[in-house]
C-alpha cells in the first residue's frame, strides 16, 4: 500500500489543498473537533470524531435553493445553483463514511436532488481508520468495520506512517494527485494495529448490540410498543440528536424575505420538533412520544423497509455523547427489542 510518514502530514495537506479545497478535522479552542477548511499550519485533530458529522459537506444545515424577485404581479425565478468546487474531506471515520451511502439512498433516488448531487460529485471522501474507538461506538452493530472504512479512499495509521488506498476511481484520482509524496510501504505493522483495533472493538461495551430483531418487518410490533411512553418522557424535544446525527436528513423549506427579494432556503428539520409535521390542516404527531417514536422507527424500521434492510444508523455514538438527557438509540433498542 502507498504510505506517507505521519510527520509529513503537513506536506500532504499542503499538496492536496494546492489543487482542491481541503477539509480536515481539527481541534477547536474548547478542545472539541470540527471540520475546518485547511490552512497552513493546521493540525489534524487527535480526537476520535467531530462533534458535528461530516454530512454538512453534502447536505448543509441551511442552503439557498432558489431566489425570487417580485414585481407587481410578476415573479422572476432566479436559479442560484452554481457548480460546486472540487473538495476533499480528509479523515472521515468509518461511521461517517457509511453515512454518505445512506444519504445517497435518499437524495440520489429519483427525482435526484441536484443540490446534493452537485456537491457529492465534486467531493472526495478520504476516510481514516479508527485506532482508539470510544465506549459510545457501535458501528459494528451496523456491519461497519472501524478499522476498514469506506469512502472514495481510505487511510490507515500504524503509528508511524499513514497508508492510503483507493476504493474507486475518484479515490484513485485523489491518490494520483498526491502520488509524488507517497511511496510503497510495508503493511505488516499496520495489520497488527488493525488487528488490535478490532480486538478493542470487540471489547467495547456496546459490541454485542445487534440489529437482528429490527427491520422493516417489525413495523406494527414496535410502533405499538408500550415502551415509547417511558422512553420519551424525559425527552426535551430539542434537535441535538438529529443535528449531530450523520444520517438524519429531514429538512424544511422556507422563504426568507430579504427586503429586496425572496430567498427560498432549505434547512435541517428535526422530527423531535413539535412543528415537524405541522400543516395548515393540523398535525398528525402532537405528542413528544409520537415524535420521539418517529425518529427511532425511521432508523430501525422504516428505512430498512424501503432500503433492502439497510438501517438508518451508523453507530457513530454522537447522540450517546450529546443528548442533554442521555436518551439514545442504544437505550431505545435495548428497551424495545423483542427477541
Amino acid at each position: 500500500m502507498l504510505k506517507i510518514s505521519l510527520d509529513k502530514l503537513d506536506k500532504l495537506f499542503e499538496a492536496i489543498s494546492a489543487t482542491k479545497t481541503l477539509y480536515i478535522p481539527t481541534d477547536r479552542e474548547d478542545g472539541a473537533a470540527e471540520y475546518r477548511k485547511y490552512e497552513s499550519g493546521m493540525k489534524l485533530s487527535s480526537a476520535l470524531n467531530t462533534v458535528r458529522s461530516a454530512k454538512d459537506f453534502f447536505f448543509p444545515q441551511t442552503e439557498n435553493l432558489v431566489d425570487f424577485k417580485m414585481d407587481g404581479k410578476n415573479i422572476e425565478v432566479i436559479d442560484v445553483r452554481e457548480e460546486s468546487e472540487d473538495f476533499v474531506i480528509f479523515g472521515v471515520r468509518a461511521c461517517d463514511a457509511r453515512s454518505f451511502t445512506i444519504l445517497d439512498k435518499v437524495f440520489l433516488a429519483e427525482p435526484v436532488d441536484s443540490y446534493y448531487k452537485n456537491r457529492r460529485d465534486h467531493g472526495t471522501v478520504v476516510a481514516m481508520a479508527c485506532t482508539r474507538p470510544a465506549e459510545t461506538c457501535f458501528c459494528g452493530t451496523f456491519g461497519i468495520d472501524a478499522a476498514a472504512p469506506e469512502g472514495d479512499a481510505a487511510c490507515y495509521s500504524d503509528g508511524e506512517s499513514l497508508f492510503i488506498e483507493a476504493h474507486n476511481e475518484k479515490g484513485q484520482q485523489f491518490i494520483d494527485s498526491i502520488a509524488s509524496l507517497l511511496k510503497d510501504g510495508d503493511t505488516s505493522k499496520l495489520e497488527e494495529v488493525r488487528a488490535k483495533t478490532r480486538e478493542i472493538l470487540k471489547k467495547l461495551p456496546l459490541a454485542k448490540l445487534t440489529t437482528d430483531n429490527f427491520g422493516g418487518d417489525k413495523l406494527n410490533e414496535y410502533f405499538n410498543s408500550d415502551k415509547w411512553g417511558e422512553l420519551s418522557e424525559s425527552c426535551l424535544g430539542c434537535g441535538t440528536c438529529t443535528f449531530v446525527c450523520p444520517t438524519c436528513q429531514c429538512y424544511d423549506i422556507k422563504d426568507f424575505n430579504t427586503g429586496h427579494g425572496i430567498k427560498r432556503f432549505r434547512c435541517w428539520d428535526s422530527c423531535m420538533y413539535s412543528d415537524f409535521t405541522k400543516m395548515a390542516h393540523g398535525n398528525p404527531r402532537l405528542t413528544q412520544l409520537e415524535r420521539f417514536r418517529q425518529r427511532f422507527m425511521h432508523k430501525l424500521v422504516y428505512f430498512p423497509a424501503n432500503n433492502n434492510g439497510e438501517f438508518g444508523c451508523v453507530g457513530c455514538g454522537r447522540c450517546l455523547a450529546k443528548c442533554p438527557i442521555s436518551m439514545n438509540i442504544v437505550k431505545v433498542m435495548k428497551a424495545l427489542e423483542v427477541k
Binding site: 426568507f256 430579504t258 427586503g259 429586496h260
Partner: protein, 148 residues
C-alpha cells in the same frame, strides 16, 4: 441607500418614537422647520415601552446602522410608568450588546417631550453624526439582507 454627492456614508437610522411625547416632538420639529437628516426614519409606537428588544435587533439584522428610541421624560409618561420600564429594558439590552462587542453608539435612548422640537432635531443631528462616525453596521446585519 441614500446617495450623497460626496459619497459620504449615509447611515440608515430607525427612530422609535412614543406617540405622546417624542412623536409630537418630531412633529413640532417639523412645524418649526428644524432640519435634521433624512437618514432618520420614524416608527410611531404608543409608548416607548412598546418597543421590544427584538424590534431593535430586527432593525440591525435588516441593515439599520443605528437605532434610537425616544420617549417621554421619566415621570411624564402618558401611561405613567412605561418609560421607566423602557429605561430598565434598554439599559440591560444595550449593556448586553456592548458585552457582545457591538458598537455602543449605535443604540441610544433619549427623552424628548412634545414641546422639545428643537431637542428632537438636535438629538437626531447628533445621533446621525455619531453613527456616521461608526460606519456601516457590520456586526449585527444579516448578510442575506445586504443590498446588492
Amino acid at each position: 441607500m441614500q446617495v450623497n454627492e460626496n459619497k459620504e456614508f449615509q447611515p440608515l437610522i430607525v427612530a422609535f418614537c412614543c406617540n405622546w411625547c417624542s412623536y409630537a416632538g418630531a412633529d413640532l420639529a417639523g412645524t418649526n422647520r428644524l432640519n435634521y437628516p433624512d437618514n432618520i426614519k420614524i416608527i410611531r409606537v404608543p409608548c416607548s415601552c412598546r418597543v421590544n428588544p427584538m424590534f431593535i435587533l430586527r432593525a440591525f439584522q435588516r441593515g439599520a446602522d443605528g437605532v434610537i428610541l425616544c420617549g417621554c421624560h421619566p415621570g411624564d409618561c402618558h401611561y405613567t410608568s412605561g418609560n421607566y420600564f423602557t429605561r430598565r429594558r434598554m439599559t440591560l439590552l444595550f449593556s448586553m450588546l456592548d458585552f457582545l462587542g457591538i458598537e455602543r453608539d449605535r443604540t441610544r435612548v433619549e427623552w424628548v417631550s412634545a414641546a422639545e422640537g428643537a431637542k428632537f432635531a438636535a438629538t437626531m443631528n447628533e445621533f446621525t453624526e455619531a453613527v456616521k462616525k461608526l460606519g456601516p453596521n457590520r456586526r449585527l446585519e444579516d448578510l442575506r439582507c445586504r443590498k446588492q
